[in-house]
């Protein structure tokens, strides 16, 4: 039993990890074909996992409705939305679910007039969230916060036409802040991230890191 829970997953991780590793260095078309084949397996895996995800979501909300948990009305909305979208998808504008996806009909209507505007609304809310987060951050209570505030003001004003009207040096200073101190920090973070990614990958390939299997 331990073989299936530990040794086999570790062996699989080692094999596929090494294939992925060597795929970076072997450009040959036959190895490329093998790698692409393996990548296509991932997509198959995802198709099955999506069923699992949908089941998890629907079961969770079914239980909330059953228990009449606080806010169970939202769960009803989710179920109604799911049934309507699923039915529209199956109907497929009269073409049936075996045909290719139609680019018109109820499903596209739901996508264009419900899903997309809802997503856009959430995205636009971000502007207000930025304002409130910025207010909290820019309260210059420490030297670092003060420097952040000053830099932010220079960059913001330096990147709009009024900045150039105030002083011709402002856009240059704003660009310098972005291209020198900001880029230096960004590269420092990237360097650490890149090494961290490689080291974590190697830890997984060599079986040193096993927490993703549920730990030791």
């Amino acid at each position: 039993m331990l073989f299936f829970k530990r040794q086999l997953p570790l062996a699989i991780a080692f094999f596929f990890g090494m294939v992925g590793f060597f795929a970076q260095y072997i450009p040959h078309h036959s190895f490329e074909a093998l790698y692409n084949e393996l990548i296509s397996w991932v997509r198959l895996l995802y198709a099955f996992a999506l069923i699992l995800g949908t089941y998890s979501l629907l079961r969770l909300h079914s239980k909330r409705i059953e228990r009449k948990a606080p806010g169970f009305g939202y769960s009803l909305v989710l179920w109604a939305g799911f049934i309507a979208t699923f039915a529209a998808g199956m109907y497929n504008d009269g073409r049936g679910f075996l045909a290719g996806q139609s680019d018109s009909g109820m499903l596209m209507w739901i996508y264009d007039y419900v899903f997309k505007p809802a997503g856009a609304t959430m995205f636009s809310v971000l502007a207000f969230f930025i304002a409130s987060a910025a207010y909290r951050t820019f309260r210059a209570r420490t030297t670092a916060a003060g420097m952040l505030l000053a830099s932010a003001i220079i960059v913001m004003i330096g990147r709009i036409p009024i900045g150039d009207m105030i002083s011709e040096h402002l856009p240059i200073l704003a660009s310098w802040l972005m291209e020198v101190p900001n880029a230096a920090v960004k590269r420092g973070i990237f360097l650490g991230v890149a090494l961290g990614v490689v080291a974590t990958s190697l830890r997984i390939i060599f079986g040193i890191e096993r927490a993703y299997l549920g730990g030791d």
């Binding site: 590793f21 970076q24 260095y25 450009p27 040959h28 078309h29 036959s30 490329e32 692409n36 296509s40 991932v42 895996l45 995802y46 996992a49 995800g53 949908t54 998890s56 979501l57 079961r59 969770l60 606080p70 806010g71 939202y74 290719g100 680019d103 899903f115 809802a118 997503g119 959430m122 995205f123 809310v125 971000l126 969230f129 930025i130 409130s132 987060a133 909290r136 973070i189 990237f190 650490g192 991230v193 090494l195 961290g196 990614v197 490689v198 080291a199 974590t200 990958s201 190697l202 830890r203 060599f206 079986g207 040193i208 890191e209 927490a211 993703y212 299997l213 549920g214 730990g215 030791d216």
Partner: protein, 497 residues
Amino acid sequence: MMRFRLKTILSAIIAASALLAYAENTAFSQDGPLPQLMPFPVNTHIEVETPQPVPLPPIDRLEAMDAPDDAGNTVILSWPAPRDEKQEQKYIIEATSDVGGPWRQVASFSAMTSFKADLPRVFGWNAPDLKTSHAIEINLAPPTRAFTDKLDESNYKKNLKLKDTLKQIEDSIKDMAPAEKDAFADQIAELRQEILELENKAPVTATRLEPDHHYYFRVIRSEGERRSPAIGVGVIPRGNWFDSGKLNNFAIALVLAGLIIFYVYRTRKKPDNIFIRRIPGLEAVEDAIGRATEMGKPIFFVHGLADMSSISTVASVNILGKITERVAEYGTSFKVTNKDPVVLAVSQETVKEAYLRMGRPDLYRDDDVFFVSQDQFSYATGVEGMILREKPASIFYFGYYFAEALLLTETGAHMGAIQISGTDSYTQLPFFITTCDYTLMGEELYAASAYLSRDPKLLASLKAQDLMKGLIIVFIIVGVILSTAGVDWMTHIMESF
């Protein structure tokens, strides 16, 4: 046992490298060194048509070579720039898989551009003709399967339209006389070819280069209406078993792998008390869990948007296991939100195992680790709603985030939750720092699992990682000094071999 495994792994890597080197040498020795010219005579003049008015002089000494370090879909053409070359002139490159044609244009570029100097990996940095000889890489790789699917998706409508048009033409000429039908033959052939290409079923032609097939290229010089006679050359593109341009990268990966194996091996033999600097964000995990327990409110663990193939997601799953162990000690309500169904399955298993390890399998409920949505803003909305309704005392955000980061953390901040985040998403770091109590930046996310578990093997790998970072910093400093002094060999090593 561990020693045996390490030795086995090392031997496997060495053997694999040796095999690769052998395969590479064999591949080269079969075909001889570059360039690989084919029987199709070099510098053969092929008259295309009588240029009008006065033809330009043809190019001279055209050479074709199989591109090194590729899958076998690339060739390189080069020729000395003619003395009478002018900026308004251009070069047209045509290709075919059959010496008799049909020829198809595969590339073109303006005169006075595209020189050997643009391909230093092929022609080096010091050859005398780097800036006086033209060189162009013709890469006609067939689309990969993933790309083909995308191509089919985006060109689905176009394909349908082409088929409709083809059907209409075929229907309309059905009753015509053969001579009249001939007038449509070219149009029909073109439509059929286009449909086949869209469906990625086109026969092997020069529209894409298949490895180990003969291809012929010709170069035509043009200036307005004036064209030169075409000069042709043949070549066979071949795949390579090692990308020598990535030798520097490969060496760094091997050094890092060697360091990790060395330190882990040494730690197993002689466990050191490895020092790891204090990370406040991870120190605060205990406080965050304790706070939620005291307040009797749930703890949320919010995964990022990346799937399981992202290392940041793997790192966050590792952290999830460690946090769950602490949560199990207190028996606090713990919820894990997922955007990806595979991450969901892995997280469910991780949480279940962690509860089991701590002797509290009774605390695990499948519904506590759940899927929210695969869409970015639907996920954000769903999680925000839960934060507003359930008012968690502590929220952990680990993984890779996009624009939803601020929506989530700002909502958590408004609800007064203690928030700890960790991400390698550079663009979202400012938002996390702004709204969370503690933020793990970049590599700290990857170190978190080792930090929380204190496993000597994991800590040893961190030591190797830090040593590698030190080496890279030394390289950067030496490289900057040398480059400033006008010595470029180190820059070339870092760029490519």
